[in-house]
Amino acid sequence: MSPMGTDDLVSPFDDAVVEPRPLARRLSTLAGKRVTLLSISKPKSAEYLNEMERLLVSRYDVIVTRAFKPTFTKPAPRDLIDQVAGASDAVIEALAD
């Protein structure tokens, strides 16, 4: 115990416990799965995601869907998250510069 004791100080943090969310079940195979490539809409993200799409389709036979955040400067809107989550078996979110 420190002489000041935690209780003597007011924490600037919000220590409310956030329950950890379990990871989604891992896919046993990519074959025939729906994979969304989510661009955060930074310049040059297309180059990276195009190559990713080519590899996924040619090597793993996945069904690729493309989605876009409206802007890289703000969090994705809830609707977009729900839409992507509902239509995908897996999502790859790409940051690019």
Binding site: L9, P12, F13, A16, P75
Partner: protein
């Protein structure tokens, strides 16, 4: 406790300011009032504060006022400063054998010991009347000399606290401050931006809140979404080193930071270098002693330095937007410790930023801007507005990236008072200045096809002209700085095109 007539055992203790002192030495030329104290004990502190009135009369009578602290030397010295006292401070470490030998059970306990090491008086706790008798006993040694008078302010009697020699070793160890450095402790907790912070004790936070409701919520602070209560904001202000009178500015700045238009989430997460810049307008600047003159943007003024820091700590700690986790800036810049300055409205020939933004003259207003480190512009040669603005605009043309046309983002130009006087002296208004800056920075597309470029460049012919700013409204003029020196500065913005951040202004509120 040793009683009257008993022999006071000798001791050899370290002075809080160095050296070793024995009772024999202390009583060689006259009696000594030896008071056992501990910093944690309010009665001890009150006693030390009040006994200060006896120190000089004691000295005149050849007597000494000495406190034996059950504290570290550092704490003893701090206590003296707090009590405004100059007694001789000795420190006794655990296991407090001297206190044990004197039979001390509570602190404070005072013993008046004469030249023969005989106890003349012994007093437990604070007892004004008994201590006043001691003062008179000492004064009688030198008839006609001054008699120390203790304050008549209540309480007349106040019980003391357990003396540390009466406690078990584990309890004493837990209380010991000898090896504890509270500033280092705050570094270990991660409650800092890398500079020492002021411990946000409940008392300091209470003073910062000054009666405001601690649980009043401002909602979540992006990006980590910790809930910002007034109490947490006050903790950030204390950590930053704010005085309570700065808190209305901190609360207004926090409100502005959390407006969605300001986009603190993106500003924090971005790999860009910009951070929150707090610009203060109106009478509050003078009321809290802000600097808008020499070195206006350079700190070394408590209000300027700590208000900006409080906002940055709020984002970094409550919002968990600290590098390297949720603050992802590739380079960062010194303003991300603190960046707050005041307009020099007294030296400005134009209306203030606040008035330009629709507030009434005389209102105190805080404006949040998402800006990069200042880029200063020297022009000591030009006198004509066109020439001065050509120089300043050239610096502005380079913001974000010299090839990014347009930047299409609000951009703050801090015009130094000398430049402002030259411009206004020739009849130029703020709007004229903004229009000229937009006009003079236009570039041909052909020059902008290398390096980072805006979205329009590809589709335009090389001889087409592009502005840096889409409208003079994006050129924001603020006057600040010292009277001498023909300097201005541009504070580059974060990303433009409506994607980044909008400036947000808030009036200081009576209810916050």
């Amino acid at each position: 406790m040793l009683g009257i007539g008993e022999r006071a055992p000798d001791f050899l203790l370290e002075g809080a300011h160095g050296g070793l002192v024995s009772l024999v030495e202390l009583t060689r030329g006259g009696p000594a009032l030896v008071v056992f104290v501990a910093e944690e004990c309010p009665t001890s502190r009150m006693t030390l504060e009040r006994l200060e009135a006896l120190r000089e009369p004691f000295a005149a009578a050849g007597a000494t006022l000495v406190a034996v602290h059950q504290d570290s030397a550092e704490t003893a010295a701090q206590t003296m400063r707090r009590c405004g006292a100059a007694y001789l401070a000795l420190v006794e470490p655990a296991p407090f054998r001297t206190a044990e030998a004197y039979g001390v059970r509570t602190v404070p306990t005072a013993f008046l010991v004469d030249e023969h090491a005989s106890v003349v008086a012994s007093i437990e706790g604070w007892s004004r009347d008994e201590l006043q008798v001691v003062a008179e006993t000492v004064a009688r040694r030198k008839p006609g000399g001054p008699i120390g008078r203790l304050s008549a302010e209540p309480p007349a009697i106040k019980p003391g606290c357990g003396s540390k020699n009466t406690l078990d070793a584990a309890t004493v160890a837990a209380m010991s401050v000898a090896d504890f450095d509270e500033l280092e402790d705050l570094f270990e907790r991660g409650w800092t931006d890398g500079l020492p912070v002021v411990p946000p004790t409940r008392e300091r936070v209470r003073r910062m809140l000054d009666g405001r409701s601690p649980q009043r919520s401002f909602g979540p602070v992006p990006p980590g979404m910790g809930e910002l209560t007034l109490e947490r904001l006050a903790a950030c202000a204390v950590l930053a080193g704010c005085k309570p009178e700065y808190f209305p500015v901190v609360t207004a700045a926090a409100e502005a930071t959390l407006e969605p238009a300001f986009n603190v989430h993106g500003m924090t997460n971005t790999t860009h270098t910009a951070g929150p810049v707090v610009i203060v307008s109106g009478p509050i600047r003078e009321q809290i002693g802000m600097n808008s003159g020499i070195n206006a943007m350079g700190g070394w003024n408590r209000a300027n330095a700590t208000i900006g820091r409080a906002i940055r700590l709020m984002v970094g700690l409550t919002g968990r937007g600290a590098p390297p986790d949720l603050d992802r800036s590739t380079l960062g810049q010194p303003g991300k410790i603190s960046f707050c300055f005041a307009e020099n409205e007294e030296a400005s020939p134009w209306e203030s930023l606040a008035v330009s933004r629709g507030f009434a003259p005389g209102e105190s207003v805080v404006t949040l801007y998402c800006g990069d480190a200042p880029f200063s512009v020297s022009d000591h040669y030009s006198r004509e507005p066109d020439d001065i603005l050509y120089t300043i605009a050239m610096a502005g043309a380079a913001v974000f990236s010299p090839t990014m046309f347009p930047i299409a983002a609000e951009t703050v130009f801090v015009i130094g008072p000398e430049h402002a006087r030259s411009l206004a002296g020739a009849g130029w208004k703020k709007r004229d200045v903004a229009e000229r800056i937009v006009e003079v920075t236009k570039r041909q597309v052909g020059d902008m096809k290398r390096g980072e470029r805006g979205p329009f460049v590809a589709g335009l012919p090389d001889d087409a002209w592009l502005p840096k700013w889409m409208s003079p409204d994006e050129v924001v003029i603020v006057v600040s700085g010292g009277h001498a020196g023909r300097f201005s500065a541009v504070l580059p913005p974060w990303v433009g095109y409506g994607l980044g951040s909008k400036m947000v202004s808030k009036r200081l509120r009576e209810d916050l």
